[in-house]
Symmetry: C2
Subunit: 457 residues, 2 copies
């Protein structure tokens, strides 16, 4: 067997321990596949641990490990965007390949990190950063490399999906399910990143870059969480054949979809929509049936069409699987380096960090929220007045918004009827104007509740 | 831009034309991702075609193309197992990388073809051979490389799945739907390969080898088609919460599951089950909701758990996507060769053909049908006799077979009642004996209808 591959694991939390366990459980399999011995030489941990193989050096100086001669690949699983960043940059400068699960760090500082890696002819691999054990990074960067991506839609936050699933299946309100998710350890004590969609936005930024070949632009992601979703809307959606899920969308708009240019309502702006938000999707799609903490990403590309990738989006085993898949890819590169006198010749073998050659990234604009095009679910509360439905539909019709379905429920409070309207896709700015008019009608009361809708077609 | 990559496409049927169209549609995308110019230099076609770019050489001598100095990668999409084999072996001997969609050829002659490719330091890539555009080969060989696969279950024949979907959704009988599938071009004039499960068995042989690191053993695949599935059984299955699908299974059995060894009924033989057959799976699984001509593969591996991959299993676009993903992988290898004086150093970069280093393939035995373990759906026809249910359940119980559900329907013919029984997993040999006894009961009539059942848990 050729030269051993030496790994350092920085961080011995759930994921770091998962990686150690995976290597111990599957070492034969790893050798049979790679033809190499894969050994952990160093681990970075604040406290000395008794349960670690004594052959492995434990070190609390993570920067020293990142520069150690006894390490080929640095696995960063400490998380956070400060120390983790310093360590990764240091490892890169010291010629180490890096594997990381750190979505926040890459979404926010990936452009800088990847540029430094390119300059140092090393690779920063990040399969574990998006959708846990689902190999969506490899799929998008390599398996779909010959396709032009039109859009992708992902359930990429397990906690949020668990909450939406429980609300729908068991009729439990948001706050109650969130509390349970926290007890189960799915959600952090501060659940903001999950329920406000920030975690999903980090992952979406990564997915969008490798889908379209654009720089990472986390700060451009339109982000809406699930905290305002009520059981009432969950149930109305089901009644109409839809399901509310928290979904991240990246959509390429080529612009001017209407060739005559006269229909201002639906006129496309060219650019890319990056958005995470609750959305109605048809019940009979696979994505609508991704339940609990599971993740899935649906990709629509040309000429392949729709493909879907499903599995565990978090957890020790799934994340360790993704981390070690990256290691196995790097082992092949390192294997060749060991045999070759010209280590610089390996550059050609790296898949570019964002799937596209760095100087080929495009500056396609990211669309503002008002420019985005989606269908809508509207819940309007109106007094039970024979003319009100006519008024509402006229406002929508005047705005060029096509209605797909209407559900008028019996009055649930004194004289008030909820009217549920599903619309075909429309530019958000146009919908904003229509809603403003609907809210001003004498016969309507309160705010119009709106949730986006996507047919995934 | 570096040296161009020169492709030859052998065969201008649906897939070959799809590849040409893909390159024409997505050339910018291919260049942005690979940093190379990718050009078709030669096409192999019996008849001169007017619709091909005049810069491309058309040649009816496919063996000459396979050895041409003007070609880096040979794309074989003529199909069949005779001429295609000669061409591929010739291309390999001439140092060409090969991309093929030919599942029958690889399932039957892959061991020989891959060995020759290893010896000649070239790669034969075959993403398009299994499940069309779903990147299951890359996923299994690379993304799941750190996992130990426990089992996989795939809907890997679109025609068969279309037929099963139509039977269930529309209550149409097998023969009628098959005729439609032939009209729609999904099924060949001779539908044997599809409806008898042979096409699925070819694909399963490939999937099993890369899942477990075993040589290709198509001749060991247990194969049952869908021609005997009736609407009656489709409907009973639905009533019990299951759905009948044609599924390929590859299952690793470690043996001796029952530590005390006393329970002969359920004693495991160590080995691998390779089987394609109709099977009941729970309605609420994603796999049960893969409809029409779509394909999906569900993989259960440690530590990742279950992941699922879904998309188009056939068609020009999906197959071309897979073919060109292979080309893009090879482009990276060729790119490095162009820069390097030592082409032999690239060996380390190839993922091994079957995902495992060739000398690490294992000789794990393939289990015989009688050794396989599955649940069963049984349909027994009995005279409406108060003791018959007791007799049947006693036979099963004496054989150590656990009953999971029973459905006794009202008599549909003079005095005859269908009794539907679902069992927990049992070794087939044991079920064979029990069925023999049930068929000998005075109160039963005709053969017991049996369909396997899998909870996918």
């Amino acid at each position: 067997m050729s030269k051993s591959i030496k790994l350092a694991i920085l961080g011995l939390g759930t994921v770091g321990t998962g990686v150690i366990n995976l290597i111990s459980d599957n070492l034969d399999e790893l050798k049979r596949r790679s033809g190499r011995d894969i050994i952990i030489t160093e681990v970075g941990t604040r406290r000395q641990r008794d349960d670690i193989d004594p052959d492995i050096t434990q070190n609390s100086d993570l920067m020293a490990i990142a520069a150690s001669d006894n390490v080929d690949i640095v696995i960063e699983v400490i998380g956070g965007t400060t120390l983790a960043k310093d360590i990764i940059l240091h490892a890169i400068k010291n010629g180490k390949h890096v594997v990381t699960a750190n979505k926040a760090l890459l979404a926010e500082h990936g452009n800088e990190i990847f540029a430094l890696a390119e300059a140092n002819n090393v690779h920063v691999a990040y399969e574990a950063a998006v959708a846990g054990g689902i190999p969506i990074i490899k799929v998008m960067r390599e398996a779909l490399a010959a396709n032009k991506v039109d859009w992708l839609a992902g359930i990429i936050n397990g906690t949020g999906n668990f909450i939406m699933t429980e609300m729908r299946d068991k009729g439990r309100p948001f706050a109650e399910v969130l509390a349970e998710a926290q007890e189960l350890g799915y959600a952090e004590a501060d659940p903001t990143f999950d329920v406000e969609g920030i975690d999903a936005a980090h992952k979406l930024a990564l997915l969008a870059s490798i889908a379209f070949g654009i720089p990472l632009q986390f700060d451009q992601v339109y982000c809406e969480g699930i905290t305002d979703i009520t059981l009432q809307d969950v149930n109305y959606a089901e009644e109409l054949g839809y399901r509310i899920k928290h979904v991240g969308f990246a959509v390429r708009r080529d612009g001017n979809a209407n060739s005559d240019g006269t229909d201002q309502t639906h006129s496309d702006s060219a650019g890319i929509e990056l958005r995470v938000h609750p959305t109605l999707i048809p019940q009979n799609t696979l994505l609508a049936n991704v339940n609990g903490v599971k993740n899935a990403v649906l990709v629509n590309s040309h000429p392949l069409g729709q493909t879907l990738y499903y599995g565990d989006g978090a957890g020790a085993g799934a994340t360790a699987s993704a981390v070690m898949a990256d290691v196995m890819d790097l082992v092949r590169v390192l294997g060749s380096e060991a045999d070759s006198s010209h280590s610089e010749t390996n550059h050609g073998h790296h898949v570019p960090h964002l799937g596209f050659i760095p100087d080929q990234l495009s500056d396609t604009p990211i669309l503002r929220a008002e420019q985005m095009i989606t269908g809508y679910y509207l819940r309007v509360h109106a007094y039970d007045n024979p003319g009100v439905l006519a008024d509402i539909t006229r406002i929508l019709s005047d705005a060029g918004i096509n209605i797909d379905a209407i559900l008028q429920k019996p009055a649930h409070k004194l004289g008030q009827v909820p009217v549920i309207i599903l619309t075909l896709p429309v530019v958000e700015s146009q919908m904003n104007l229509a809603i403003e008019k609907i809210e001003k009608l004498e016969a309507t009361t309160g705010k119009v509740i709106r949730i986006r809708l996507d047919e995934l077609a």
